[in-house]
């Protein structure tokens, strides 16, 4: 793999990663959002795979494959199941911030990310670190999604985006975290999703909906 193609693929992966996050903010259809999350997982997996192939590092390739299986296949399937169990809640009910505004906020967050990660790039300006702003932007966007969405499921999506972003940043900065760490992270994400799934189930049984605003009623 030549330098140029390596750059190209890495940038492309970072761009797709960011684009998926933006589209998740944009769309309201829960199924579509989960699909986009799967795409983001693929983009995420592409980063360690590329690095591995470029640097002939078998461990990285293994990590990449595992990430692919977990983030692009397993977790989305779990979420799809969760969506399936909500017959009449296929759409994100109007978020706390309307779509136009949240898109503009996303723009602001991205610009901010570019600004704050400038020093990191300055440390060692390699193609990998050049892609860091995009992944860092995804982290910020994920936090924003968790803040602004009502449905528990969208919250789960935001949480997973957050983890994706962190993982991607880790891959880019430290050329790949140790395998075991990655496994641990992915597993606890899976647990978190399961817990959220149970939680949504409980909420639906208690309140007949998973609108998180209704949790206010729990206060005595």
């Amino acid at each position: 793999m030549t330098q140029a193609t390596y750059n190209g693929v890495l940038n492309l992966a970072a761009g797709a990663f960011l684009l998926a996050a933006v589209l998740i903010v944009w769309r309201r259809e829960l199924r579509a959002i989960v699909g986009l999350l799967a795409w983001q997982g693929i983009a995420l997996a592409a980063i360690p795979l590329t690095e591995g192939i470029y640097k002939h590092d078998a461990a990285l390739i293994v990590v990449g494959v595992i990430v692919l299986l977990l983030r692009a296949v397993a977790l989305p399937l779990l979420l799809i199941r969760a969506v399936g169990t909500e017959p009449h809640e296929r759409r994100e009910s109007t978020p706390l911030v309307n779509t136009t505004t949240s898109l503009l906020i996303t723009a602001g967050l991205t610009v901010l990310a570019y600004a704050v990660t400038r020093p990191i790039i300055a440390l060692d300006p390699s193609p990998a670190t050049r892609a860091v702003p995009a992944t860092f932007a995804v982290i910020l966007i994920a936090v924003f999604v968790m803040v602004s969405r009502r449905r528990a499921l969208s919250q789960a999506v935001g949480f997973m985006m957050l983890d994706n972003g962190i993982a991607a940043t880790a891959f880019l900065i430290t050329a790949g975290v140790p395998l075991i760490v990655e496994l641990g992270a992915s597993l606890d994400v899976m647990f978190a999703v399961l817990v959220l799934g149970l939680l949504t189930g409980h909420m639906r049984r208690t309140f007949g909906g998973t609108d998180l605003d209704q949790l206010r009623e729990l206060r005595g």
Partner: protein, 329 residues
């Protein structure tokens, strides 16, 4: 590569190429529209009127009576000519077949955008000039969309002009042709998506506007031209077809700049360029029409969401083309 290509001594062939561009757009635009209708018809299981249908309609409209509604001014009478004129001028400026159009140094991408809006404004004023409720409604909607589209367009122009360090089209296209590596960069991909959305909005296609609606209340572009008849209507339809064609051609050559003849072309190069641009535009139009089958028209007040999204993409494109500037080339 710099934008002074256009200034280099023009052989008569460069003028020939430019003339050929304009002629091709004049003749080809109705066929492009017809082709899009045909694709749509086939996907709907119909037979369709054939790609010649718009030409038949134009030919017929040109032979019909010229009627002028009472109380309209010269604005109403000349707006179609202005829209068509701007479309023709853009066709002459863009590097569709060959790079070195004599007009290239006279108008860069900002100028082209300005001309585009000049046409839009002319038609909007005509809609207001009729003094009918539908005319005003169409104008109001059209100008609102135009106003919201402008930031996206200019940011996309910005993103595109970063690699070539110039906003002149010949420079951008040749810069892309010189190092295709830029094309796979996220910057240019985001810019492509943003520009595509903008073009859809500007040419009044789905999901922004439905070109084949019969209900005045759902119209945007159609509502402005409800009062036009005969030759003027023909000119309006022709012009909107030409706008669509030149914009698709622009999109094609900005992101797939292959087959475009150089600044000082040979006859063969011109022919190749002609074939290339025809194929590109036809394919793009077909894809657009096919895509339209799957989507419904957006509610009017959801359109700002779409445009805000494209604005975001354009902004990302600019920042990306700033930060991902890979020093490989």
């Amino acid at each position: 590569m710099n934008a002074t290509i256009g200034l280099a001594g023009h052989t008569y062939l460069t003028y020939l190429a430019t003339a050929l561009q304009v002629l091709a757009v004049i003749v080809g635009a109705p066929f492009i529209v017809g082709g899009m209708r045909q694709v749509r018809a086939r996907l709907e299981g119909r037979a369709g009127g054939g790609i010649g249908q718009p030409w038949r309609d134009l030919h017929k409209q040109l032979r019909k009576q010229q009627v002028t509604p009472q109380g309209t001014t010269v604005v109403f009478g000349f707006a179609p000519a202005v829209v068509a004129g701007t479309a023709l001028l853009i066709a002459a400026i863009l590097p569709l077949i060959a790079l070195g159009s004599p007009l290239d140094p006279a108008a860069d991408l900002f100028g082209v955008v300005g001309l585009l809006f000049l046409g839009t404004v002319a038609l909007t004023l005509a809609g207001l000039d009729t003094g009918t409720a539908f005319g005003g409604m169409g104008s109001s909607r059209e100008i609102t969309i135009a106003a919201l589209v402008e930031p996206t367009i200019l940011l996309a122009v910005f993103a595109l002009s970063v690699p070539g360090r110039s906003a002149n089209l010949a420079a951008i296209v040749s810069a892309t042709a010189d190092n295709p590596g830029h094309l796979v960069s996220p910057g240019s991909l985001l810019a492509f998506v943003a520009l595509a959305i903008v073009i859809i909005a500007e040419t009044g296609r789905l999901p922004v506007d439905n070109p084949s609606t019969h209900l005045e209340l759902t119209m945007i572009h159609e509502a402005m031209v409800l009062e036009y008849a005969g030759p003027r209507l023909a000119l309006v339809e022709w012009a909107s077809g030409m706008r669509l064609t030149v914009l698709l051609g622009l999109l094609a050559n900005l992101f797939l700049p292959w087959g475009v003849a150089g600044a000082d072309p040979s006859v063969l190069a011109i022919l190749i360029g002609f074939v290339a641009i025809t194929v590109k535009v036809a394919v793009l139009a077909g894809l657009l029409a096919a895509g339209e089958v799957f989507i419904a028209k957006l509610r009017y007040f959801r359109i700002p969401e779409l445009l805000a999204g494209s604005f975001l993409l354009a902004l990302l494109a600019v920042t990306a083309s700033y930060f991902f500037a890979t020093p490989t080339n």
